[in-house]
Protein backbone atom coordinates (compact mmCIF):
# COMPACT_ATOMS: atom_id res chain seq x y z
CA UNK A 1 0.00 0.00 0.00
CA UNK A 2 2.71 2.42 1.02
CA UNK A 3 4.75 1.26 -1.93
CA UNK A 4 1.96 1.96 -4.36
CA UNK A 5 1.55 5.46 -2.98
CA UNK A 6 5.34 5.80 -3.08
CA UNK A 7 5.35 5.49 -6.85
CA UNK A 8 3.23 8.57 -7.30
CA UNK A 9 5.67 10.55 -5.18
CA UNK A 10 8.62 9.72 -7.41
CA UNK A 11 11.60 7.53 -6.70
CA UNK A 12 12.56 9.42 -3.52
CA UNK A 13 9.22 9.69 -1.70
CA UNK A 14 10.65 10.87 1.63
CA UNK A 15 12.34 13.82 -0.05
CA UNK A 16 9.13 14.59 -1.96
CA UNK A 17 7.10 14.58 1.27
CA UNK A 18 9.64 16.75 3.09
CA UNK A 19 9.71 19.29 0.29
CA UNK A 20 5.95 19.27 -0.14
CA UNK A 21 5.13 19.83 3.54
CA UNK A 22 7.88 22.44 3.96
CA UNK A 23 6.87 24.38 0.87
CA UNK A 24 3.18 24.21 1.78
CA UNK A 25 3.89 25.55 5.24
CA UNK A 26 5.89 28.43 3.76
CA UNK A 27 3.17 29.21 1.21
CA UNK A 28 0.56 29.28 3.97
CA UNK A 29 2.79 31.56 6.02
CA UNK A 30 3.03 34.00 3.12
CA UNK A 31 -0.76 33.75 2.69
CA UNK A 32 -1.19 34.57 6.40
CA UNK A 33 0.97 37.65 6.02
CA UNK A 34 -1.05 38.70 2.97
CA UNK A 35 -4.37 38.91 4.83
CA UNK A 36 -3.76 42.34 6.39
CA UNK A 37 -2.45 44.10 3.25
CA UNK A 38 -5.22 42.56 1.13
CA UNK A 39 -7.92 43.84 3.46
CA UNK A 40 -6.32 47.31 3.50
CA UNK A 41 -6.01 47.48 -0.30
CA UNK A 42 -9.46 46.11 -1.01
CA UNK A 43 -11.04 48.20 1.71
CA UNK A 44 -12.95 45.11 2.81
CA UNK A 45 -12.52 44.01 6.33
CA UNK A 46 -11.51 40.40 6.40
CA UNK A 47 -12.46 38.22 9.27
CA UNK A 48 -9.59 37.85 11.75
CA UNK A 49 -10.54 34.18 11.87
CA UNK A 50 -9.29 33.77 8.28
CA UNK A 51 -5.85 34.92 9.35
CA UNK A 52 -5.92 32.67 12.38
CA UNK A 53 -6.97 29.69 10.33
CA UNK A 54 -4.18 30.24 7.79
CA UNK A 55 -1.73 30.61 10.66
CA UNK A 56 -2.88 27.34 12.21
CA UNK A 57 -2.58 25.56 8.86
CA UNK A 58 0.95 26.93 8.60
CA UNK A 59 1.68 25.41 12.00
CA UNK A 60 0.02 22.13 11.05
CA UNK A 61 2.19 21.69 7.95
CA UNK A 62 5.33 22.75 9.84
CA UNK A 63 4.56 20.00 12.38
CA UNK A 64 4.02 17.45 9.61
CA UNK A 65 7.30 18.58 8.05
CA UNK A 66 9.15 18.06 11.34
CA UNK A 67 7.45 14.73 12.08
CA UNK A 68 8.35 13.39 8.64
CA UNK A 69 11.89 14.60 9.21
CA UNK A 70 12.40 12.77 12.50
CA UNK A 71 10.47 9.64 11.51
CA UNK A 72 11.00 8.90 7.81
CA UNK A 73 14.22 10.83 7.31
CA UNK A 74 16.04 10.17 10.58
CA UNK A 75 14.25 6.88 11.41
CA UNK A 76 13.74 8.09 15.01
CA UNK A 77 17.49 7.94 15.52
CA UNK A 78 17.75 10.46 18.34
CA UNK A 79 21.53 10.45 18.30
CA UNK A 80 21.39 11.67 14.70
CA UNK A 81 18.68 14.14 15.64
CA UNK A 82 20.79 15.61 18.44
CA UNK A 83 23.74 16.08 16.09
CA UNK A 84 21.56 17.62 13.37
CA UNK A 85 19.80 19.99 15.79
CA UNK A 86 23.04 21.26 17.26
CA UNK A 87 25.34 21.21 14.26
CA UNK A 88 23.41 22.18 11.13
CA UNK A 89 22.50 25.86 10.94
CA UNK A 90 19.52 25.30 8.63
CA UNK A 91 18.09 22.69 11.00
CA UNK A 92 18.72 24.91 14.05
CA UNK A 93 16.80 27.85 12.64
CA UNK A 94 14.07 25.52 11.39
CA UNK A 95 13.59 24.21 14.92
CA UNK A 96 13.60 27.74 16.37
CA UNK A 97 10.95 28.76 13.84
CA UNK A 98 8.83 25.74 14.78
CA UNK A 99 9.08 26.54 18.50
CA UNK A 100 8.00 30.08 17.69
CA UNK A 101 5.04 28.85 15.64
CA UNK A 102 4.05 26.52 18.48
CA UNK A 103 3.88 29.41 20.95
CA UNK A 104 1.70 31.34 18.52
CA UNK A 105 -0.59 28.37 17.90
CA UNK A 106 -1.03 27.75 21.63
CA UNK A 107 -2.02 31.39 22.21
CA UNK A 108 -4.24 31.69 19.15
CA UNK A 109 -7.56 31.15 20.96
CA UNK A 110 -9.88 34.03 21.75
CA UNK A 111 -9.53 33.20 25.40
CA UNK A 112 -5.76 33.59 25.32
CA UNK A 113 -6.13 36.76 23.30
CA UNK A 114 -8.25 38.30 26.06
CA UNK A 115 -6.06 37.00 28.82
CA UNK A 116 -2.82 38.36 27.35
CA UNK A 117 -4.33 41.68 26.28
CA UNK A 118 -1.66 44.05 24.93
CA UNK A 119 1.03 41.38 25.39
CA UNK A 120 -0.74 39.23 22.81
CA UNK A 121 0.10 41.77 20.11
CA UNK A 122 3.78 41.74 21.02
CA UNK A 123 3.90 37.97 21.20
CA UNK A 124 2.24 37.53 17.81
CA UNK A 125 4.63 40.01 16.21
CA UNK A 126 6.97 37.01 16.48
CA UNK A 127 5.50 35.88 13.18
CA UNK A 128 7.83 38.37 11.44
CA UNK A 129 11.16 36.97 12.68
CA UNK A 130 9.71 33.45 12.27
CA UNK A 131 8.95 34.13 8.62
CA UNK A 132 12.50 35.38 8.05
CA UNK A 133 13.94 32.26 9.70
CA UNK A 134 11.71 30.07 7.55
CA UNK A 135 12.94 31.61 4.31
CA UNK A 136 16.58 31.38 5.45
CA UNK A 137 15.94 27.72 6.41
CA UNK A 138 14.81 27.11 2.82
CA UNK A 139 17.69 29.12 1.33
CA UNK A 140 20.35 27.25 3.30
CA UNK A 141 19.27 23.76 2.32
CA UNK A 142 19.25 24.45 -1.43
CA UNK A 143 22.41 23.13 -3.07
CA UNK A 144 23.17 25.99 -5.44
CA UNK A 145 20.08 27.05 -7.40
CA UNK A 146 18.78 29.72 -5.01
CA UNK A 147 16.38 31.36 -7.46
CA UNK A 148 13.23 30.10 -5.76
CA UNK A 149 14.27 30.88 -2.16
CA UNK A 150 15.28 34.36 -3.38
CA UNK A 151 11.83 34.80 -4.88
CA UNK A 152 10.29 33.98 -1.49
CA UNK A 153 12.76 36.36 0.17
CA UNK A 154 11.64 39.09 -2.23
CA UNK A 155 7.94 38.57 -1.53
CA UNK A 156 8.55 38.42 2.21
CA UNK A 157 10.69 41.59 2.15
CA UNK A 158 7.89 43.39 0.37
CA UNK A 159 5.31 42.26 2.93
CA UNK A 160 7.53 43.25 5.88
CA UNK A 161 8.55 46.63 4.43
CA UNK A 162 4.95 47.41 3.63
CA UNK A 163 4.12 46.94 7.32
CA UNK A 164 7.12 48.96 8.44
CA UNK A 165 6.27 51.90 6.16
CA UNK A 166 2.65 51.78 7.23
CA UNK A 167 3.67 51.91 10.86
CA UNK A 168 6.05 54.82 10.27
CA UNK A 169 3.37 56.64 8.29
CA UNK A 170 0.75 56.02 10.99
CA UNK A 171 2.90 57.23 13.90
CA UNK A 172 3.87 60.41 12.08
Amino acid sequence: MLEIAGRTLGVNPVRTLLHFTGKTSLNLLIATLLVTPLSVWSGKKMLPSVRRMLGLYTFFYACLHFLIYISLELDFNFKDLRIEITKRPYIIIGVIALIGLTSLALTSTRKMMRRLGKKWQYLHALIYPISILTVVHYYWQVKIDVREPLLYAGVLSFLLFWRLLRKVYKTN
Binding site: L2, E3, G6, G10, V11, N12, P13, V14, R15, L17, L72, E73, D75, D80, I83, E84, R88, P89, Y90, W140, Q141, K143, I144, D145, R147
Partner: protein, 320 residues
Protein backbone atom coordinates in the same frame (compact mmCIF):
# COMPACT_ATOMS: atom_id res chain seq x y z
CA UNK B 1 40.50 -9.54 -5.15
CA UNK B 2 36.93 -10.46 -5.82
CA UNK B 3 36.49 -11.38 -2.19
CA UNK B 4 37.72 -8.00 -1.08
CA UNK B 5 35.62 -6.14 -3.56
CA UNK B 6 32.49 -7.84 -2.36
CA UNK B 7 33.13 -7.45 1.32
CA UNK B 8 30.89 -4.47 1.90
CA UNK B 9 27.76 -5.73 0.28
CA UNK B 10 24.95 -5.54 2.73
CA UNK B 11 21.63 -7.28 2.51
CA UNK B 12 19.95 -4.02 1.57
CA UNK B 13 21.90 -4.02 -1.65
CA UNK B 14 20.65 -7.40 -2.68
CA UNK B 15 17.61 -7.16 -4.87
CA UNK B 16 14.69 -9.40 -4.09
CA UNK B 17 14.57 -12.61 -6.06
CA UNK B 18 11.61 -11.65 -8.20
CA UNK B 19 13.07 -8.36 -9.30
CA UNK B 20 16.34 -10.07 -10.05
CA UNK B 21 14.68 -12.77 -12.11
CA UNK B 22 12.76 -10.14 -14.00
CA UNK B 23 15.94 -8.32 -14.72
CA UNK B 24 17.62 -11.43 -16.01
CA UNK B 25 14.74 -12.06 -18.37
CA UNK B 26 14.86 -8.44 -19.36
CA UNK B 27 18.56 -8.47 -20.15
CA UNK B 28 18.19 -11.73 -22.01
CA UNK B 29 15.45 -10.25 -24.10
CA UNK B 30 17.57 -7.26 -24.91
CA UNK B 31 20.63 -9.17 -25.91
CA UNK B 32 18.83 -11.96 -27.72
CA UNK B 33 16.61 -9.89 -29.97
CA UNK B 34 17.56 -7.18 -32.36
CA UNK B 35 14.24 -5.41 -32.06
CA UNK B 36 12.29 -4.21 -29.08
CA UNK B 37 9.41 -6.61 -29.77
CA UNK B 38 10.65 -8.99 -27.11
CA UNK B 39 10.35 -6.39 -24.38
CA UNK B 40 6.65 -5.76 -24.90
CA UNK B 41 5.60 -8.03 -22.06
CA UNK B 42 8.03 -6.57 -19.54
CA UNK B 43 6.81 -4.65 -16.54
CA UNK B 44 6.50 -0.90 -16.86
CA UNK B 45 9.23 -0.52 -14.31
CA UNK B 46 11.86 -1.79 -16.69
CA UNK B 47 10.44 -0.62 -19.97
CA UNK B 48 12.69 1.31 -22.27
CA UNK B 49 11.96 4.43 -24.30
CA UNK B 50 11.49 3.57 -27.96
CA UNK B 51 14.82 4.44 -29.49
CA UNK B 52 15.97 2.92 -32.73
CA UNK B 53 19.32 2.05 -31.31
CA UNK B 54 21.21 -1.06 -32.11
CA UNK B 55 21.65 -3.32 -29.12
CA UNK B 56 25.22 -3.06 -27.88
CA UNK B 57 27.26 -6.17 -27.25
CA UNK B 58 28.90 -6.41 -23.88
CA UNK B 59 30.19 -8.84 -21.31
CA UNK B 60 29.71 -8.61 -17.55
CA UNK B 61 32.88 -7.79 -15.66
CA UNK B 62 32.25 -9.95 -12.61
CA UNK B 63 35.28 -8.76 -10.70
CA UNK B 64 33.98 -5.20 -10.74
CA UNK B 65 30.31 -5.91 -10.25
CA UNK B 66 28.25 -5.94 -7.12
CA UNK B 67 26.29 -9.15 -7.15
CA UNK B 68 23.00 -7.60 -8.13
CA UNK B 69 21.53 -4.30 -9.04
CA UNK B 70 19.20 -2.63 -6.59
CA UNK B 71 17.84 0.05 -8.82
CA UNK B 72 15.44 -0.03 -11.70
CA UNK B 73 15.96 1.55 -15.08
CA UNK B 74 13.23 3.98 -14.06
CA UNK B 75 15.14 5.06 -10.92
CA UNK B 76 18.35 5.65 -12.84
CA UNK B 77 16.75 7.57 -15.71
CA UNK B 78 14.14 9.76 -14.00
CA UNK B 79 16.01 11.01 -10.93
CA UNK B 80 19.03 12.86 -12.30
CA UNK B 81 21.27 15.79 -11.60
CA UNK B 82 22.23 17.20 -14.99
CA UNK B 83 21.97 20.95 -14.54
CA UNK B 84 22.46 21.54 -18.26
CA UNK B 85 18.81 20.51 -18.57
CA UNK B 86 17.51 22.14 -15.37
CA UNK B 87 18.07 21.84 -11.64
CA UNK B 88 15.06 19.70 -10.77
CA UNK B 89 15.63 15.95 -10.54
CA UNK B 90 12.98 15.38 -13.19
CA UNK B 91 14.23 18.12 -15.56
CA UNK B 92 16.91 16.09 -17.36
CA UNK B 93 14.45 13.38 -18.42
CA UNK B 94 11.86 16.01 -19.37
CA UNK B 95 14.05 18.42 -21.34
CA UNK B 96 16.68 16.22 -22.96
CA UNK B 97 14.36 14.37 -25.34
CA UNK B 98 15.44 16.29 -28.43
CA UNK B 99 19.12 16.30 -27.57
CA UNK B 100 21.35 15.21 -30.46
CA UNK B 101 24.10 12.88 -29.34
CA UNK B 102 24.89 11.98 -32.95
CA UNK B 103 27.05 13.08 -34.70
CA UNK B 104 29.45 13.64 -31.84
CA UNK B 105 33.12 14.55 -31.67
CA UNK B 106 35.57 14.54 -28.80
CA UNK B 107 38.63 16.75 -28.87
CA UNK B 108 41.81 15.38 -27.31
CA UNK B 109 44.30 18.11 -26.42
CA UNK B 110 47.15 19.14 -24.16
CA UNK B 111 50.06 17.04 -22.95
CA UNK B 112 49.68 14.04 -25.25
CA UNK B 113 51.46 12.84 -28.38
CA UNK B 114 48.24 12.20 -30.21
CA UNK B 115 45.77 15.09 -30.25
CA UNK B 116 42.89 16.21 -32.39
CA UNK B 117 39.19 15.77 -32.97
CA UNK B 118 37.79 12.28 -33.06
CA UNK B 119 34.31 11.09 -33.88
CA UNK B 120 32.54 9.11 -31.18
CA UNK B 121 32.83 6.08 -33.47
CA UNK B 122 36.62 6.49 -33.55
CA UNK B 123 36.71 6.87 -29.80
CA UNK B 124 34.69 3.71 -29.16
CA UNK B 125 35.88 1.43 -31.95
CA UNK B 126 38.79 -0.46 -30.35
CA UNK B 127 37.15 -0.94 -26.97
CA UNK B 128 35.15 -4.04 -26.14
CA UNK B 129 32.28 -3.02 -23.89
CA UNK B 130 31.83 -4.47 -20.46
CA UNK B 131 29.14 -4.15 -17.82
CA UNK B 132 30.01 -3.23 -14.28
CA UNK B 133 27.57 -2.81 -11.42
CA UNK B 134 28.75 0.05 -9.26
CA UNK B 135 27.43 2.00 -6.34
CA UNK B 136 26.71 5.62 -7.21
CA UNK B 137 26.75 8.12 -4.32
CA UNK B 138 25.54 11.70 -4.80
CA UNK B 139 26.95 14.51 -2.68
CA UNK B 140 23.32 15.16 -1.66
CA UNK B 141 23.41 11.93 0.39
CA UNK B 142 21.38 9.62 -1.85
CA UNK B 143 22.68 6.64 -3.75
CA UNK B 144 21.84 3.98 -6.31
CA UNK B 145 23.37 0.78 -7.64
CA UNK B 146 23.60 0.89 -11.42
CA UNK B 147 24.83 -1.48 -14.14
CA UNK B 148 26.97 0.73 -16.35
CA UNK B 149 28.36 -0.29 -19.72
CA UNK B 150 31.67 1.00 -20.94
CA UNK B 151 35.42 0.49 -20.81
CA UNK B 152 38.34 1.53 -18.63
CA UNK B 153 39.34 5.15 -19.07
CA UNK B 154 42.96 3.94 -18.82
CA UNK B 155 42.59 2.03 -22.09
CA UNK B 156 41.35 5.17 -23.82
CA UNK B 157 44.06 7.39 -22.34
CA UNK B 158 46.84 5.02 -23.39
CA UNK B 159 45.84 5.42 -27.05
CA UNK B 160 46.76 9.11 -26.94
CA UNK B 161 50.16 8.57 -25.28
CA UNK B 162 50.14 11.28 -22.63
CA UNK B 163 53.54 12.88 -22.02
CA UNK B 164 55.42 12.97 -18.71
CA UNK B 165 53.88 16.42 -18.12
CA UNK B 166 50.37 15.01 -18.07
CA UNK B 167 49.59 15.17 -14.36
CA UNK B 168 45.84 15.74 -14.68
CA UNK B 169 43.04 14.86 -17.07
CA UNK B 170 40.39 17.52 -17.66
CA UNK B 171 36.96 16.76 -19.11
CA UNK B 172 34.51 19.22 -20.64
CA UNK B 173 30.77 18.85 -21.29
CA UNK B 174 29.15 20.16 -24.46
CA UNK B 175 28.21 23.85 -24.27
CA UNK B 176 25.06 24.36 -26.32
CA UNK B 177 22.40 26.54 -24.67
CA UNK B 178 20.00 25.90 -27.56
CA UNK B 179 19.95 22.17 -26.87
CA UNK B 180 20.66 22.46 -23.17
CA UNK B 181 18.18 24.97 -21.73
CA UNK B 182 19.76 24.85 -18.28
CA UNK B 183 22.85 26.55 -19.69
CA UNK B 184 20.80 29.70 -20.37
CA UNK B 185 20.84 30.35 -16.62
CA UNK B 186 24.15 31.02 -14.99
CA UNK B 187 23.73 28.46 -12.22
CA UNK B 188 27.23 27.13 -12.88
CA UNK B 189 30.11 28.47 -14.92
CA UNK B 190 29.41 26.73 -18.26
CA UNK B 191 30.71 24.59 -19.80
CA UNK B 192 30.87 22.03 -17.02
CA UNK B 193 34.45 21.02 -16.32
CA UNK B 194 35.71 18.12 -14.23
CA UNK B 195 39.13 16.63 -13.68
CA UNK B 196 41.09 13.78 -12.20
CA UNK B 197 44.67 13.30 -11.18
CA UNK B 198 46.30 11.08 -13.80
CA UNK B 199 46.70 8.17 -11.37
CA UNK B 200 43.01 8.41 -10.48
CA UNK B 201 42.16 8.44 -14.16
CA UNK B 202 44.34 5.37 -14.79
CA UNK B 203 42.81 3.36 -11.93
CA UNK B 204 41.05 0.32 -13.40
CA UNK B 205 37.78 1.25 -11.65
CA UNK B 206 37.50 4.53 -13.56
CA UNK B 207 35.03 3.91 -16.34
CA UNK B 208 34.19 5.60 -19.63
CA UNK B 209 30.50 4.92 -19.92
CA UNK B 210 28.33 4.62 -23.03
CA UNK B 211 25.36 2.74 -21.63
CA UNK B 212 23.37 1.43 -18.72
CA UNK B 213 21.12 -1.59 -18.22
CA UNK B 214 22.44 -3.05 -21.46
CA UNK B 215 21.27 -0.03 -23.46
CA UNK B 216 23.05 2.97 -24.92
CA UNK B 217 22.99 5.93 -22.53
CA UNK B 218 19.75 7.93 -22.51
CA UNK B 219 20.29 11.67 -22.97
CA UNK B 220 19.48 12.47 -19.35
CA UNK B 221 22.29 10.19 -18.19
CA UNK B 222 24.94 11.93 -20.29
CA UNK B 223 24.77 10.50 -23.81
CA UNK B 224 26.82 9.60 -25.70
CA UNK B 225 29.90 9.47 -23.47
CA UNK B 226 30.29 10.05 -19.73
CA UNK B 227 32.65 9.31 -16.91
CA UNK B 228 31.96 7.15 -13.86
CA UNK B 229 34.31 7.37 -10.88
CA UNK B 230 32.55 5.14 -8.35
CA UNK B 231 34.50 6.16 -5.25
CA UNK B 232 33.80 9.88 -5.75
CA UNK B 233 30.63 11.93 -5.35
CA UNK B 234 28.48 11.88 -8.45
CA UNK B 235 29.30 15.40 -9.63
CA UNK B 236 32.81 14.21 -10.57
CA UNK B 237 31.26 11.80 -13.08
CA UNK B 238 30.91 14.33 -15.89
CA UNK B 239 28.37 13.78 -18.68
CA UNK B 240 28.17 14.34 -22.46
CA UNK B 241 31.93 14.77 -22.83
CA UNK B 242 33.29 16.74 -25.81
CA UNK B 243 36.80 17.46 -24.56
CA UNK B 244 39.59 15.53 -22.86
CA UNK B 245 42.68 17.55 -22.05
CA UNK B 246 45.92 16.48 -20.40
CA UNK B 247 47.44 19.19 -18.20
CA UNK B 248 50.30 19.74 -15.83
CA UNK B 249 48.31 21.88 -13.41
CA UNK B 250 45.27 20.90 -11.37
CA UNK B 251 42.24 22.28 -13.22
CA UNK B 252 39.52 24.41 -11.67
CA UNK B 253 36.37 22.35 -11.76
CA UNK B 254 32.78 23.59 -12.00
CA UNK B 255 31.42 22.84 -8.51
CA UNK B 256 34.69 23.87 -6.94
CA UNK B 257 34.45 27.25 -8.69
CA UNK B 258 30.79 27.62 -7.65
CA UNK B 259 31.34 26.85 -3.94
CA UNK B 260 35.00 26.10 -3.08
CA UNK B 261 34.34 25.58 0.63
CA UNK B 262 31.68 22.96 -0.11
CA UNK B 263 33.00 21.01 -3.10
CA UNK B 264 36.65 20.06 -3.34
CA UNK B 265 38.67 18.83 -6.28
CA UNK B 266 38.95 15.30 -4.86
CA UNK B 267 35.34 14.80 -3.70
CA UNK B 268 36.04 11.28 -2.48
CA UNK B 269 33.06 9.71 -0.74
CA UNK B 270 33.87 10.01 2.94
CA UNK B 271 31.40 9.47 5.80
CA UNK B 272 33.78 11.23 8.21
CA UNK B 273 34.02 14.52 6.34
CA UNK B 274 30.69 16.34 6.35
CA UNK B 275 29.49 18.72 3.73
CA UNK B 276 29.58 22.11 5.52
CA UNK B 277 25.78 22.14 5.61
CA UNK B 278 24.82 18.48 5.95
CA UNK B 279 26.10 15.11 7.13
CA UNK B 280 27.71 12.57 4.79
CA UNK B 281 27.64 9.73 7.33
CA UNK B 282 24.52 8.09 5.89
CA UNK B 283 22.78 7.94 2.57
CA UNK B 284 19.31 7.23 1.26
CA UNK B 285 19.34 4.32 -1.16
CA UNK B 286 16.89 5.23 -3.90
CA UNK B 287 14.30 2.56 -4.67
CA UNK B 288 13.08 1.89 -1.16
CA UNK B 289 9.77 2.98 0.25
CA UNK B 290 8.93 5.46 3.00
CA UNK B 291 10.02 3.12 5.73
CA UNK B 292 13.39 2.09 4.32
CA UNK B 293 16.01 3.46 6.70
CA UNK B 294 19.03 5.33 5.44
CA UNK B 295 22.19 3.22 5.20
CA UNK B 296 25.74 3.90 6.35
CA UNK B 297 27.98 5.54 3.79
CA UNK B 298 31.22 3.61 3.24
CA UNK B 299 34.68 5.16 2.95
CA UNK B 300 35.43 5.62 -0.75
CA UNK B 301 31.88 4.40 -1.34
CA UNK B 302 32.98 0.84 -0.57
CA UNK B 303 35.98 0.90 -2.91
CA UNK B 304 38.66 1.59 -0.28
CA UNK B 305 40.57 -1.61 -1.10
CA UNK B 306 41.00 -0.50 -4.68
CA UNK B 307 41.70 3.21 -4.24
CA UNK B 308 42.78 4.21 -0.72
CA UNK B 309 46.46 3.87 -1.71
CA UNK B 310 45.96 6.81 -4.09
CA UNK B 311 45.48 9.08 -1.08
CA UNK B 312 48.04 7.73 1.34
CA UNK B 313 49.47 10.46 3.60
CA UNK B 314 46.86 12.95 2.44
CA UNK B 315 44.82 14.93 4.92
CA UNK B 316 41.33 13.98 3.75
CA UNK B 317 39.65 16.81 5.66
CA UNK B 318 41.79 19.31 3.84
CA UNK B 319 41.70 17.63 0.43
CA UNK B 320 37.99 16.88 0.50
Amino acid sequence: MKEKFMQHITSSEITSESIYTNRRIFLKALTATASLAGTATLSKENSIPDKNYSIPKFTRNKQYSLQESSNTYNDATTYNNFYEFGTDKSDPAAYSKGFKSKPWTVEISGEAEIRGKFTIEDILKPHPLEERIYRFRCVEAWSMVIPWMGFSLADLINRFRPTANAKYVVFTTLHDPIQMPGQREKILDWPYVEGLRIDEAMNPLTLMVVGLYGRWLPNQNGAPLRLIVPWKYGFKSIKSIVGIRFTEKQPRTSWNIAAPEEYGFYANVNPDVDHPRWSQAKERRIGGNYLSPRIQTLPYNGYATEVSALYRNMNLSRYF
